[in-house]
């Protein structure tokens, strides 16, 4: 069974988001996504300072099986990237909601977060896609 923490927001393309105290948003891929992909072997991250529109392709996660795009869930500017996953992509498999985060961004509009899926909505969507 996949874990879907309650405190996070989700997208239909299997990204998760966590609003930080400083107003920035941490983004990663969900447990369901890492299970579907299998062992990750390569992660390409955006660059700090990139300004991205919602839905823009901003990272790539590659597993032994396939390459998969990661989409920017809401518009904003990249404020940090997780170099740990670039050096050791298996961290995303081991801890997708913790050490395996991908990047942080400063949202262009903080209220965009409310348009995303909550845990229940994502859980029922992820169930359907299996």
């Amino acid at each position: 069974m996949s874990q879907i923490p309650n405190e996070l927001k989700y997208t239909e393309s299997h990204e998760w988001l966590l609003l930080q105290d400083d107003g920035s948003v941490t983004v990663g891929i969900t447990d369901t996504a890492q299970q579907l992909l299998g062992d990750l072997v390569f992660v390409e991250l955006p660059e700090v300072g990139d300004v991205l529109a919602a839905g823009a392709e901003c990272a790539v996660v590659e597993s032994v099986k396939a390459a998969s795009d990661v989409y920017c869930p809401i518009a904003g500017e990249i404020s940090a990237v997780n170099e740990t996953v670039a050096d050791g992509p298996e961290v995303v498999n081991e801890d997708p909601y913790g050490e395996g985060w991908l990047f942080r961004l400063k949202p262009a509009d903080g209220s965009d977060l409310s348009k995303l899926l909550d845990a229940d909505a994502y859980a029922s969507m992820a169930e359907d896609s299996h």
Partner: protein, 362 residues
């Protein structure tokens, strides 16, 4: 839903992730494809390959027929049990399938063909067999397992019939032996030592339970693919098919040109192609970060000079590798990944054999 091998429930009980493959539901992995890959390189792994088909050829002209049907020459096979890898060709030299054939005696050969091509292969074989005194008998009632890795033989032998153990232990590479209704060959598709075992379906689960208890790791199709890619072994449908000749698929070594008087299907076409080839088949090592994938285009400067036929990540080398078909005159090549050019170096497969890197990493 696809067809099920006799081990379907066993795979599910081992928490396999089942996926459709060539009309069958097969295990992709049992948790981690990478772990399974390493287990085979370092210890021993078990693959269910029951989706593949064994075909027996018996009768007075079994040898004559196979010398007509196959590009490699079964007359080379001595002594009993010896195996040979060959392509089965169309008249135009396109590859219908690649296969293993075992010589048991002059009136009995056993062939193993790919799962996804079985129906097509049997139709072609039946058609070609017209006029030959040969009986073609698919053995779908057999389960087929591959136990591969440096410890595969020592972990498997104690589970075999007591009176077969010493002769099975004495098998040389690429040699097989039939024992009652079991058939054990020292062959495989991973670049490691090991066995391929055919056995009655009813005994498959018990045998696999024994292997599991002996510490043999169940492995899925995912690891099977990365292992064979590291071993530089072709995959039918990716690296060659009906539209490609073995001469541009790295399989020239499997064509038995001698004796010249032996006619086999595809010979004339291959003879014409030989000496005027415009493409060659190579191994590639990615110099930059990323992963090479099937069908990615290859360039020399602005000229597209070929494409990757199978690519992926090598867990042993921790680098991305590929097999590719390129223009014979291309030398300094790049791959295009998501609009970006990355550098690749041409290398000679295999990439890995018996747990060791066989290419220079830089």
């Amino acid at each position: 839903m696809g067809q099920h091998t006799p081990l379907y429930d066993w795979h599910v009980a081992q928490a396999a992730r089942m996926v459709p493959f060539g009309g069958w539901d097969m295990p992709l992995h049992y948790g981690s494809q990478l772990d399974e890959h390493h287990q085979v390189r370092r210890d021993a792994g078990l693959f269910d390959v029951s989706h593949m088909t064994a075909i027996d050829f018996t009768g007075a002209q079994a040898q004559a027929f196979l010398r007509h049907l196959l590009a490699n020459d079964v007359a080379r096979l001595q002594p009993s049990g010896k195996a040979l890898y060959s392509c089965m060709l169309q008249a135009d030299g396109g590859v219908i399938d690649d296969l293993i054939v075992y010589y048991m005696h002059d009136q009995w050969y056993r062939m193993v063909v790919n799962a996804g091509t079985t129906e097509k292969d049997l139709a072609w074989i039946e058609q070609q067999a017209q006029g030959f005194e040969v009986t073609v008998q698919p053995r779908q009632e057999l389960a087929m397992l591959a136990i591969q890795g440096p410890q595969a033989r020592s972990k498997t032998i104690p589970l075999l019939a007591a009176d077969a153990q010493s002769s099975i232990a004495a098998l040389k590479p690429f040699q097989a032996q039939a024992h009652a209704d079991w058939f054990i060959g020292r062959t495989g598709y991973t670049g490691e030592d090991g066995f391929e075992v055919m056995l009655p379906q009813a005994q498959a689960v018990g045998f696999c339970d024994g292997l599991l208890a002996a510490g043999v790791q169940p492995c899925g199709l995912g690891a099977r693919d990365t292992l064979r890619l590291e071993a530089g072994m072709n995959l039918y449908g990716s690296d060659m098919d009906e539209s490609t000749s073995p001469l541009v698929s790295g399989l020239g070594w499997t064509i038995a040109w001698e004796p010249q008087e032996r006619h086999f299907v595809g010979r004339e076409a291959l003879q014409k192609q030989r000496g005027q080839l415009k493409q060659r088949f190579v191994g590639l090592l990615l110099q930059d970060k990323g992963v090479l994938r099937n069908h990615l285009p290859l360039f020399e400067a602005d000229r597209q000079i070929g494409e990757i036929t199978s690519g992926g990540f090598s867990p042993t080398l921790k680098r991305s590798i590929a097999l590719a078909r390129i223009a014979t005159d291309a030398d300094h090549i790049q791959v295009e990944v998501r609009g970006k050019r990355l550098n690749v170096r041409i290398v000679k497969p295999p990439f890995v054999r018996n747990g060791q890197a066989k290419i220079e990493l830089d």
